[in-house]
Amino acid sequence: MDKMEQRNSRKNGLIFFITIPLIIILIILNIYFIKNVSDLKSTIKTNTNLKEKKEIEYNNNLVEIKKTEEEISKIKNIDNEIINAKNQYYQTLKTFEDKVANNEVDYKIAYLTFDDGPYNLTHQFLEVLQNYDVRATFFTIGYNKEPCFDDRSKSCADLYAKEASLGHTMANHTYSHLIFYGLYSSTESFMSQVKKQEQLIKEKTGLTTNIVRFPGGINTSKHLKNSIIEQLRNNGYGWVDWTASNGDGGYVPNKETAINNLKKTINEDIEVVLFHDYNYITLSALPEVIEYLRSENYVLLPLFYDSRMVNK
């Protein structure tokens, strides 16, 4: 019996001797791997956040690159972009003009127009218009512009480009304006002067104009009126007279008279105002004229071909 017990006791001892260290080793190994797994999980969590951050950074970068590429393409195509922006502007003006005509907005429109230039004095007109952030329309002629008619020491040839670059509408008042020297002798004579001026404007500004004003007004063309209008239409031109003026084509003694003359003629929701950019009185009255028109809720705009004030 004792032997049996002894053997059992030895056997139990052996079991303890083997399993206890084994259990200890297994526990240690488990702890080791649990700790490592926990560390790895924490690293994965950190790396996941980092990856998400990098992904966002990468995507933002892609957006920036796309934006930059678009901007580059836009600049490379800047000439077309300018043409598109201009066309959009004139379309907006057309919508605005329609709304004014239909009393859908509380504004009125005054198209300021300057005839017979450019003169050396035009620089000062442009300065006033720029100071008041006004775009107008210049019905230019080409005769006697180089040197300037009002200052023979200067050239007025560069003024066409200056007017255009400031956003003013370049319009055609014939090359010669010589009403009493053959301009209205025939339709062909008139049209040749229109085309000559067209060519000059194109050469100086790169722009093609499509609005004409008859020197002296439409009625000066007398019996040629319909024939010239037809020719203008056939050549893609519209024409415009004026609905208001300060009388500066004739004698105006002073600024006050010029302003009063103009006020007397302003009464419609859409006005085409005639000025001459050789006239000092008009120049001195211009700031007050602009302020007056704005106080009367007029928006001062440049003419455009699709305007209802441009006859076709």
């Binding site: 084994l22 790895l40 992904e55 970068n61 920036e64 600049i75 300018i82 201009k86 709304k99």
Partner: protein, 90 residues
């Protein structure tokens, strides 16, 4: 004594199973961790390459802006004038 013996047999078995699971988790997580690290490195490489591209594009943009300064100003003016009229209609 009998129960102790049983426990001494069962505990190592359970610990071994647990160890197996932990080893599996360890290698699985290590693999995931490695993948994440590679992915981060990939983004880093892409970012570096894109950054170079972005810098080159920006340099090109700046040059173009400088060369076309007047035209850009003209374009912006037309947009501004257009917006002014749009605002009046709003």
């Amino acid at each position: 004594m009998k129960y102790i013996k049983i426990c001494l047999i069962i505990i190592p078995i359970l610990l071994t199973i647990l160890l197996g699971k932990n080893i599996y988790d360890y290698f699985e997580n290590k693999k995931i961790s490695q993948e994440k690290l590679e992915s981060i490195n990939n983004y880093d490489n892409k970012l570096n390459s894109d950054l170079t591209k972005y810098n080159d594009l920006n340099a090109e943009l700046e040059t173009l802006k400088e060369v076309n300064k007047e035209k850009i100003m003209e374009y912006e003016r037309w947009i501004k004038w257009n917006n002014e009229i749009v605002e009046k209609m709003a």
